[in-house]
Symmetry: C2
Subunit: 232 residues, 2 copies
């Protein structure tokens, strides 16, 4: 069990993280960049989903970039860079989540104001990333059809703190005997009213809706960044 | 980043856990029960694999039991009990791994000497459970064909500390375009010589080999529990 001592130290570190994340969020909004923090289990297909998202944004001339967390390898950044968007790897060397200062360090040299979208692909983990604010405006919880419909009930922390969810690998739904109605009901039970995208990085299903959602969220950010009277 | 203070507190707690786990392991071996700690990502199919394992052991008249960790629900213990073996849920209320004292508490009232196999299904997480010894004799790392072949490289901590691995959901291998050779090579790269079972809880493939392995490991334990001269 977690002892009071460790809880106290942990609370202080989380508080420091939250303060930095708040500063970062203000900076992101001021720059007019929509920041999305993507959280899921390992193997949900975050990287494939993000690569498809980046490739479509690049094709539309929308400046975008990604940072991706992983324990040991830089495989994911290499895969993402194939989309044509810049991508940087954050190696956590065993740490099971990203923290705000890791993200901040990996943004150095990028002109945020020149970007419209920045994606942060978190370490594959349904538990620990939940507690760490990275300054994002949108937290996306991903769940694949291969994982079982009860994940939202088992990991309510993630689904409670998410703004939006994606069900990935829907091309495998039949092979996995995925119970779509039950999965949606379970998400609804934990986070009533949350929008859910049903997507396949293989067939492209659901990606247009997801991109339309991102554009809409970005317009809200850009509106906040440049008030009507033109003051910065 | 983790600060020195938290590292120091964490080290002390881990040390306490290790001491208890060592005691528990001695107790398990003395009772002649083989204890298996199952670790994987959420959604790998640990519960389905364990349920099939228990049902087969029950059918063979082998006394076995399970404890299963989860953040919030007792769904898994209910599913496992359908096998005919006793199963207890450990709810961690947000903690991302099991610790030795949680397992110990949930064994109360069970006669260990009457069991041959005890399975501990850890919380779905590829990172945090790695550091926590639960007194097991066998640590099983599970990976499903839907998760991508590079998991062993991305989560070397788990595969390094595991005794044996299982690739699950092989009935979906074709639908997922699973690259078997690459997955096996990646496991081999991280943990040379580790035995790997390729299994499907749906078709039953690989389960006989897995049960034969368990029986062999249990004979080694039982031999240690009752030395040739009959002394306890």
């Amino acid at each position: 069990m977690i002892e009071p001592r460790i809880l106290e130290v942990r609370t202080k570190i989380l508080k420091k993280n939250d303060e930095l994340a708040r500063e970062m969020r203000e900076r992101f909004v001021r720059a007019g960049v929509l920041v999305v923090n993507m959280v899921s289990s390992p193997g949900t297909g975050k990287t494939a989903f993000l690569k498809q998202t980046l490739a479509r944004l690049v094709a539309r001339g929308e400046p975008c970039a990604a940072v991706v967390g992983d324990l040991e390898t830089d495989n994911d950044a290499r895969r993402l860079a194939e989309s044509g968007a810049p991508a940087r790897q954050i190696m956590t060397h065993g740490l099971c989540h990203l923290e705000a200062d890791m993200v901040e360090k990996h943004l150095e040299g990028w002109d945020l104001a020149a970007l419209r979208y920045l994606f942060i692909e978190n370490v594959g983990n349904l538990v620990c990333p939940t507690s760490w604010d990275l300054g994002e405006s949108v937290r996306l919880a991903l769940l694949s059809v291969t994982e079982g419909e009860d994940k939202p009930l088992k990991y309510p922390g993630l689904f409670n703190t998410a703004d939006v969810a994606a069900i990935t690998k829907i091309d495998l739904a039949e092979a996995c005997e995925f119970d779509r109605a039950r999965a949606l009901a379970n998400i609804e039970a934990v986070r009533p009213g949350m929008r859910v995208f049903e997507a396949s990085s293989k067939t492209g299903a659901g990606l247009d809706e997801w991109l339309a959602y991102l554009a809409e969220r970005r317009r809200a950010i850009a509106g906040a960044a440049r008030p009507a009277d033109g003051r910065e």
